[in-house]
């Protein structure tokens, strides 16, 4: 299973350009050990940065499956045009950057039958006019095997 997902072109309803987001993880197979430092470089292409009003970068886990979605954000950073928010950000460069955080010990990525836990880096761009665009890039925390239904209990 390849967790790397690269955005492809998509047209927005307004005459905005179509962003292409690339996130590169500094890890083989996008696999991280609990407590390890995540280092990911992102790059947005195909969009005029003057149309971007804000950029949100986050590292989060979320649940998938039969239940309602639960979301846990371990890193969040929002930078707005004309306002420097992050210390590491020099000037307004919304279309390239690096995310570097120490990952928590849990929850580990998990592929269950009715509960799944996924880790991702999300990049959300806000454009002039209020429309937003989010790009999500999966990585794996830990190496838990995929769950399979057990054999029924012998009567």
């Amino acid at each position: 299973m390849n967790g790397s997902r690269h955005a492809s072109a998509q047209r927005l309803s307004s005459p905005l350009p179509t962003p292409q987001v690339t996130v590169t993880f500094r890890s083989d197979g996008n696999l991280y050990i609990p407590g390890e430092r995540l280092l990911a470089r992102y790059r947005v292409e195909g969009v005029d940065e003057t149309l971007v009003t804000a950029v949100e970068r986050s590292v989060a886990w979320y649940s998938e499956g039969k239940g309602e979605e639960d979301l846990g954000v371990v890193f969040f950073d929002r930078s707005v045009a004309g306002r420097q928010v992050s210390d590491e950000q020099v000037g307004w460069q919304p279309l390239t950057g690096t995310i570097s955080i120490r990952l928590p010990l849990c929850p580990l990525s998990y592929e269950g039958l009715i509960v799944k836990i996924r880790w991702c880096v999300r990049l959300r761009l806000f454009f002039v006019g209020g429309r937003d665009f989010v790009s999500e890039h999966i990585f794996f925390l830990g190496d838990i095997p995929v769950a399979r239904p057990p054999e029924p209990v012998a009567s």
């Binding site: 010990l105 998990y110 009715i114 429309r131």
Partner: protein, 450 residues
């Protein structure tokens, strides 16, 4: 011209949309509920609550005299043009206001409106002309007088409950919508998480291990042989409690009906409908008592199960001693101890909230056949439980959970099957164990080291 999309559209991993429109729709929905609550509450307050409060706090008490009586007719026309008349007893009260006598008709508090005139006339027989009655008049409009005071508590309760619920639901939703206005779900989650970290944790978690349930309740009972005695989550206990409650409530209803029927019979009147209803109700009541007693007997006859463990919480790859003790005098055809991993997902279906559980991993720790306990001595066995090296840790969040448990299953000789659940918590593997557990992680560790 393209209309704006109200909802985000999900295409693969990218979603686009106008979040402000979604927030606006949500805010409008809650604003309507809030407005409805305020309007209904206002109508109830001005229509009932405020007049009642004025009667009890502002009206002036005087001693009046009944100087006349009659019936008040109320005529209504329904949708089809038919006229209907209703009757209500009324009395003419004379009372002093600032030295002058004032007369006023009053119907409130005498009786309910009746569709039959003779009923209203009959009720007037209780009122004697010339009798002195306490009454209260409105100082702002002296011809408004009442013969009774008090509060309609049920109406006050309705005034608080119905509009109050709408105001609370609409107001909190509106605040939530306003708080999320223009904010992404990640931003909201990050901000809510920061607030929760400061105030309180919604779910008890182990220190340093977010989303792993705290196991304080699992390690606060020392074992007699091993370190900890695990608490049980026996479904039988809930079944006994449920059947006991049902039997108690049902038979209480039967007793009330039987007392009513008994008084009727003693008074020489037989209500066949009531007696006919009582017979099947009594049968169901007896059946409920029998089922409850049977379940109590089942639990007490099989006896309690105890499980002790050498350490807790558990770790992947770890090996733990477990002592099983099964008291009671019941012989088992088969008894087995199982380690299970169960997933639990909670979701909405319409207006219902449902929880689905599924066991995704199961391993029999030990199975015993033909267990014959000695009199006065519980069946005891010490076994070893090995947690798989790459086991998922325990996990719980608001709507999802992954739980580990030791399950004791037994098939007694002449009783229904026994199931007793002992929850355990598994933490993630320590880094050293994790490095050797997975080829991918092991390779990665090697790279990091070099």
């Amino acid at each position: 011209m393209r209309l704006p999309s109200f909802f985000s559209k999900k295409r693969g991993e990218r979603r686009t949309g106008l979040p402000a429109w979604g927030s606006l729709g949500e805010a409008l929905y809650y604003a309507v509920l809030l407005a409805a609550g305020l309007v209904i509450g206002g109508l109830m307050l001005t229509g009932v609550a405020v007049p009642e409060w004025r009667i009890n706090n502002r009206f002036v008490e005087v001693s009046g005299r009944l100087v006349g009586k009659g019936v008040a007719r109320h005529t209504t026309v329904d949708l089809f043009g038919a006229r209907r008349q209703a009757w209500r007893p009324a009395v003419l009260v004379e009372y002093p206001v600032n030295g002058e006598l004032v007369q006023s008709w009053n119907t409130a508090g005498l009786a309910e409106t009746s569709s039959r005139r003779e009923v209203a006339v009959g009720l007037l027989a209780e009122q004697e002309l010339g009798q002195t009655v306490p009454c209260w008049y409105d100082p702002d409009q002296v011809t408004t007088v009442v013969l009774k005071r008090g509060y309609s508590w049920w109406f006050w309760l309705l005034t608080l409950l119905l509009p109050g619920a709408l105001v609370a639901f609409g107001g909190s939703g509106l605040l939530h919508a306003a708080g999320g206005w223009g904010r992404s779900e990640e931003r909201q989650a990050a901000e809510v998480w920061a607030v929760l970290q400061r105030l309180a944790r919604p779910l008890a978690e182990a220190d340093g291990y977010p989303t792993i349930p705290a196991c304080d309740n699992l390690v606060n009972s020392p074992g007699t042989v091993l370190r900890f005695r695990l608490p049980t989550e026996s479904p039988e206990a809930w079944t006994v409690l449920g059947s006991g409650l049902f039997a108690g409530l049902w038979n209480a209803v039967v007793v009330v009906l039987a007392i009513g029927a008994g008084f009727d019979v003693a008074g020489g009147r037989i209500d066949w409908w009531l007696l006919g209803l009582l017979a099947p109700f009594s049968l169901v009541g007896l059946l409920a008592i029998w089922l409850f007693l049977r379940r109590v007997l089942l639990v007490t006859a099989i006896g309690p199960s105890h499980l002790e463990i050498s350490d807790h919480p558990l770790r992947p790859g770890g090996c733990y001693d477990v002592l099983l003790s099964q008291a009671g005098s019941v012989a088992f055809r088969r008894l087995e101890l199982v380690l299970e991993l169960e997933e639990q997902a909670t979701y909405r279906q319409g207006t219902d909230v449902r929880t689905e559980r599924q066991v995704v991993w199961r391993e029999v720790v030990r199975r015993w056949n033909r267990v014959e306990p000695l009199p006065g001595t519980p069946f005891e066995a010490e076994v070893q439980v090995r947690v798989p090296l790459r086991a998922m840790h325990s996990f719980h969040s608001t709507h999802n959970a992954v739980s580990w448990r030791l399950v004791l299953r037994g098939q007694p000789e002449r009783w229904p099957a026994l199931v007793r659940v002992f929850p355990v918590v598994i933490f993630p593997a320590s880094e050293a164990v994790a490095a050797g557990a997975s080829p991918a992680v092991s390779h990665k560790r090697h790279e990091v080291a070099s």
